[in-house]
């Protein structure tokens, strides 16, 4: 837990591009909210590897969103079921159903469909919002946090030692 918090602070306080951190979080949202062993998550993993996405942000986000997914399961089921049973979309789903790859994707499952639609829908808003928040944090809060008494105490703590040891490892 201490290491995780230290990692978060290190990522936020580093000079990594906010876009890379935000993208990592957004990819984590897709992988975390949708069933992990899905075909599309292999594609997400590929993107995480080849794009300059912040790995630490991705891994932290993955843990966070996986936990959230359990709470949101009923919502995903409702969304997915509504999408899959919408008569206007039936011809689309029927044609996808004939494809081996789409069957492998298991798109016809209410949970897969619901969580994928939900996370794709939130992808752009989360990207912009997290980008904005990280920039604001760095502009207005970072300096104040560094000078605060709590931070001074923190620097003297074991947590800071961990932070220091991790700072040697730079993100790409």
């Amino acid at each position: 837990m201490i290491k995780l918090l230290a990692k978060l602070l290190r990522v936020l306080n580093s000079e990594t591009d906010p876009g890379q951190i935000s993208l990592g979080l957004c990819f984590a949202m897709i992988a975390g909210l949708t069933p992990l062993l899905s075909l599309h998550n292999l594609f997400v993993l590929l993107l995480v590897f080849i794009l300059r996405v912040n790995f630490a942000a991705f891994l932290m986000g993955l843990g966070l969103f996986t936990g959230m997914a359990y709470l949101l399961d009923p919502l995903f089921h409702q969304i997915g079921l509504a999408m899959l049973t919408a008569s206007s979309l039936e011809s689309v789903w029927t044609s996808l159903y004939q494809s081996v790859w789409w069957r492998l994707e298991h798109f016809n499952n209410s949970m897969v469909m619901g969580s994928l639609v939900f996370s794709l829908g939130l992808f752009l808003p989360l990207l912009l919002l997290s980008n904005l928040l990280i920039r604001r944090y760095r502009q207005h809060i970072l300096a104040w946090v560094q000078k605060s008494k709590i931070m001074q105490m923190f620097k003297a703590s074991k947590l800071f030692e961990t932070y220091q040891s991790l700072s040697a490892w730079r993100s790409d």
Binding site: D73, L81, H106, S110
Partner: protein
């Protein structure tokens, strides 16, 4: 662009994907093994075990080594043990989540093999009870003591007499009080007096006539009312008497029923010999039918169509939701195939009597989608103890609402050896040796099971009875049975899978009836005569009382009839005598009165 792309990441992804793939390949065999064991155990209700599973990807296929299926009723025995299972899976359809097997080979199938460890699960820990030894109710050859029987037995005749006697007393008391309430002699005397007074009025001129009209009308109404109540009571009384008379008639025929019942109870009825083949063989055949039904029940869930497995013309279909799993919505497929299908299965069964070879076509859980039934054929020749055996059948669930399964078994030259037909202490019967040709056909249509079979048994050697038996009946039966060298047997079973009614008939019935029927009939007649006279003596006094009570009741009926007659008489005299009523009818001007 270079700011956003890291090309070495592609290599890292390949490495990670390869590692994940290797882990999958290493673990998949164990996972498949576990999956088969778990699903099999749940389906059978006892442990299903595998020594190993080997899943190959190119070409897609699966090999299973030593599959053991425990008999749920005998946990230390495998119902089926298969040395090797080999199948080739359609890889493309596997990606569509469909298991389509073109050909499966089951080699080294053995039945009833012993297990090293118990295969019982918690649910199936109940051991099968040994089949119960049945005994035969042979007709008795000793006439029981009639006196003792009548002391111990609850005779229907006595019961009917007692209840009728009590009811008669109750009716008598009731009608006694009813008669007191009903109009009797006092009322009659009153009416006579009123009639007499009216005659005096007649002589009083027109004024007297007009005054008497009202009185006549009132008197007439009173008498009619009394008559109505008397007639109602009379009708009610007659109904009651008729009912009691019917019961009295039942009492008169009750001794005959008592005698029949006692003759059957004390085995002095020749009916016991009428269907001895049912007694001797019915239990065993019923047990075989039940075993077959139990195995069918286990296979049934795999044959019945799971309606949510395929999309239809009506639109998408869904499976039940599972928490955290969601539901699968299925759409119409261009070339629909069931989720699970084994087109052809070659089976080689190693039995103690020799090897049976068979082929099963179209094993699937979704026959409506596939459109073809599951069929099977097994055949074996020159086996140990049987010349040939053939089993064929079809499990047709193509129309899910109208399933029809059928099976035919033919066996020729089946050697019968040391087969206990009866373990009755009084009269044991054993089939020492013989040959049988049998033909069995069973059909299950929906819930209705019907099976029929015929067997021709020849070269029979039967042993029956005990040494030193002095009972003339069992001696006669034993002599008849041991002389039998051939028999024809017919069996029918009807009902459902849970409840079957097995009926059997054979030459045996006729042979035994002929051997001992006369002897039993004579004894039964003797016992019947003794019972008749003893029962007649026992019921003589109660019957006498009953008749006496009945005549008392009939006397009340006479009283009631007399009262009705008397009231009718007085009403008649009122209307016929020259009372004012007559004078009024002749009023001048044609004036009529409303009565």
């Amino acid at each position: 662009m270079a700011k956003w792309i890291r090309w070495w990441g592609l290599g890292a992804f390949v490495v990670v994907a390869t590692i994940l793939g290797c882990v999958w390949v290493l673990l998949i065999d164990g996972w498949v093994k576990g999956l088969i064991e778990e699903a099999g155990t749940e389906a059978v209700g006892a442990k299903v075990e595998l020594d190993g599973a080997d899943l190959s990807l190119f070409p897609a296929g699966l090999k299973l080594a030593r599959l053991q299926v425990t008999d749920p009723k005998r946990p230390m025995t495998n119902a089926v043990e298969i040395a090797n299972v080999t199948m080739g899976v359609d890889g493309l359809n596997l990606l569509r989540r469909k298991i389509i097997v073109e050909e499966m080979v089951l080699a080294g199938v053995r039945l009833g093999t012993p297990r090293a460890l118990s295969g019982a699960t918690r649910e199936s820990s109940v051991q099968e009870k040994e089949s119960e030894m049945f005994s035969i109710d042979l007709p008795s050859l000793e006439v029981p003591d009639v006196k003792n029987i009548l002391e111990q037995e609850d005779l229907e005749t006595i019961r009917l007499i007692e209840t009728l006697k009590a009811d008669l007393k109750l009716e008598k008391d009731t009608w006694k009080s009813r008669l007191e309430e009903l109009p009797g002699k006092a009322k009659l005397a009153e009416y006579k007096k009123r009639v007499k007074n009216l005659k005096k009025v007649k002589k009083g001129g027109l004024k007297g006539i007009l005054g008497g009209v009202g009185e006549v009308q009132a008197l007439k109404q009173d008498i009619e009312q009394e008559l109505e109540s008397l007639n109602g009571a009379k009708k009610e009384f007659e109904d009651k008497v008729a009912l009691l008379q019917t019961r009295l008639d039942q009492v008169k025929t009750a001794p005959k029923r008592d005698i029949q019942h006692l003759k059957a109870k004390y085995n002095l009825s020749p009916q016991g010999l009428a269907n001895m083949s049912q007694t001797l063989l019915g239990g065993q055949i019923g047990s075989w039918v039940r075993q077959g039904a139990e195995w069918y029940e286990r296979a049934k869930p795999f044959l019945e169509w799971a309606p949510a497995l395929g999309g239809s013309e009506a639109g998408p279909e869904m499976q039940k939701p599972l928490r955290g799993k969601g539901v699968d919505v299925h759409f119409k497929e261009a070339n629909p195939l069931p989720d699970f299908l084994i087109r052809k299965t070659k089976v080689s069964v190693n039995l103690d009597i020799g090897d049976l070879a068979g082929t099963i076509h179209n094993i699937t859980s979704d026959q409506p989608t596939f459109g073809q039934p599951t069929t099977f054929v097994f055949f074996g020749e020159q086996l140990k103890g049987v010349k040939s055996v053939a089993l064929k059948g079809a499990l047709n669930h193509v129309i899910a609402t109208d399933p029809k399964d059928q099976m035919t078994l033919q066996a020729k030259g089946y050697e019968l050896k040391n087969f206990m037909l009866s373990q009755d202490a009084q009269w044991p019967v054993a089939l020492t040796s013989g040959l049988g040709d049998m033909n069995i056909h069973a059909e299950l249509k929906g819930e209705a099971l019907s099976a029929n079979g015929g067997a021709q048994l020849s070269a029979l050697h039967l042993s029956a009875g005990k040494e030193g038996d002095i009972n003339p009946l069992t001696t006669a039966l034993s002599s008849a049975v041991t002389g039998i060298s051939q028999l024809s047997l017919e069996a029918n079973a009807k009902g459902t899978l849970q409840q079957q009614d097995v009926t059997l008939s054979s030459d045996l019935d006729r042979i035994l009836q002929k051997a001992a029927g006369k002897m039993v009939n004579e004894l039964a007649a003797k016992f019947g005569a003794q019972l008749q006279s003893a029962i007649s003596a026992k019921i003589a006094e109660p019957m006498q009382q009953l008749k006496k009570n009945f005549s008392g009741l009939e006397g009340m009926g006479g009283d009631l009839t007399e009262r009705v007659t008397q009231h009718n008489g007085i009403l008649k005299s009122l209307l016929e005598q020259n009372l004012p009523i007559k004078g009024l009818k002749n009023l001048p001007g044609g004036l009529k009165l409303p009565f």
